[in-house]
């Protein structure tokens, strides 16, 4: 690893969907206070990877806009925003969510 890379470019890096200031590494399964230098499990979140993911799962989700992304055109619009690869499971969500229907 030549120059230093921050871990927010890693596909394990995600944020809480409701509180984007809570930063999480899904690989470690813990809150990482803020982006730090990439560890050895770093996997680069490249444009190609996002495209591939979009094509396979059919959607991505822009956490900053709280909107699903269904195609490349939309992805391009959200290019500079935070699009996680994976969502961690928030264990308390079910205790917090109201009954809705």
């Amino acid at each position: 690893m030549g120059e230093s890379v921050e871990c927010n470019k890693c596909l394990h890096f995600t944020v809480h969907p409701s509180y984007p200031y809570i930063v999480i590494c899904v690989d470690l399964g813990q809150v990482v206070a803020q982006p730090r230098e990439a560890c050895r499990n770093y996997v680069s979140k490249t444009w190609d990877r996002l495209i591939k993911q979009l094509s396979e799962s059919g959607f991505l989700y822009c956490v900053e806009c709280s909107r699903p992304i269904f195609n490349e055109e939309e992805l391009r619009k959200h290019k500079t925003e935070f699009i996680p690869f994976e969502f961690f499971t928030d264990e308390v969500a079910y205790e917090e969510a109201p009954s809705g229907d």
């Binding site: 094509s55 396979e56 059919g58 956490v63 499971t89």
Partner: protein, 312 residues
């Protein structure tokens, strides 16, 4: 110019949980609709209640968001009154196999040309994660106070037993594959079920993306031929499909389990009795002439002569 997948996206903000498998289902629908170039005004999505119930609002075709469990009979009325419409039902496992299971079975008996997309996530999401009819006994997703003591119903097995003539399973995170299933189901002339495995990111900590990633495999990769080529094969094929549907532990097959193009659809059965049915179905008949009934006194006497006595 053919319609793009994005042409089917509505402007309504989608309030499903981030990461929900429902996004994969609706994404597959956009793509399938586009590839089939379905005219939005001739396409109807009918849904029940719960997270899946909101599907029609996110798709720019006609949408009918109905009652819990009743999407199939609403869709039945829409389709039979106007059979030129493409009618798709989106329902949850609780909706279609719990409160509405009678309608599910009845649809199989009728073989109406409807496509049923079953959002199968094993829990009741919008009421806080109770066990759905597809949750297996002994399991305890995190919201359940105690492990589930009811057995699960297998949607594929039940559809086969009920008479569905197209039975498939998809996985919400394999959108391309699911899209193909949706296209085939829509093109199939008869009752079609797609059981879609769908992780609930909020309430189901068992059936996660990881869980399915390890288990799901494609039937077509094993050389599976779901199609009843000749009507004589029907029994053999349905038994094989049913046996296959029981495989649900370490490995979970997805793809088309069974397809029977021979059993007449309900629409064809009606046409046998009313030959003009498909040309002039209930929705497209004229019932008045300048504000008057098309049955006038003379016609009335002729039609209902059985009830009229000419007196002495």
């Amino acid at each position: 110019m053919a319609r793009k997948p994005s042409d089917y996206q509505s402007d309504i903000w989608n309030d499903w949980c981030p990461g929900c498998g429902d996004f994969g289902i609706v994404a597959a629908m956009y793509r399938a609709f586009s590839e089939l170039d379905l005219p939005p005004e001739k396409t109807v999505i009918v849904s029940g209640i719960g997270c899946s119930g909101k599907t029609p609002h996110f798709v720019k075709v006609n949408g009918v968001h109905t009652l819990h469990g009743r999407a199939i009979p609403f869709a039945t009325g829409i389709k039979l009154a106007n059979p030129e419409l493409t009618v798709i039902v989106n329902g949850g496992d609780g909706d279609l196999l719990g409160i509405g299971v009678g309608h599910f079975v009845a649809l199989g008996r009728r073989n109406i040309d409807l496509t049923i997309i079953l959002h199968n996530n094993t829990v009741y999401g919008l009421t806080k994660g109770q066990a759905s009819p597809t949750l297996r006994r002994g399991l305890r997703p995190k919201a359940l106070p105690k492990p589930n003591i009811q057995d699960a119903v297998n949607p594929v097995s039940l559809a086969l037993a009920s008479g569905f003539t197209f039975v498939a399973r998809g996985y919400s995170m394999m959108t391309e594959h699911l899209k193909e299933l949706i296209k085939e189901a829509i093109q199939h002339k008869g009752a079609a079920l797609i059981d879609v495995l769908q992780p609930c990111v909020t309430y189901d900590n068992i059936h996660t993306v990881e869980y399915y990633k390890k288990r799901v495999y494609k039937l077509e990769d094993t050389g599976w031929n779901p199609k009843v080529e000749k009507i004589e094969e029907k029994e053999e094929k349905i038994v094989k499909a049913w046996m296959k549907s029981q495989e649900y532990d370490d490995k979970i097959p997805i793809g088309v389990f069974y397809q029977d193009p021979h059993t007449p659809s309900f629409e064809e059965r009606i046409k046998e009795r009313i030959p003009s049915y498909l040309e002039t179905p209930p929705a497209r008949q004229k019932i008045e002439r300048e504000g008057k009934t098309i049955i006038d006194s003379e016609a009335f006497r002729k039609i209902f002569s059985y009830y009229i006595v000419e007196t002495e």
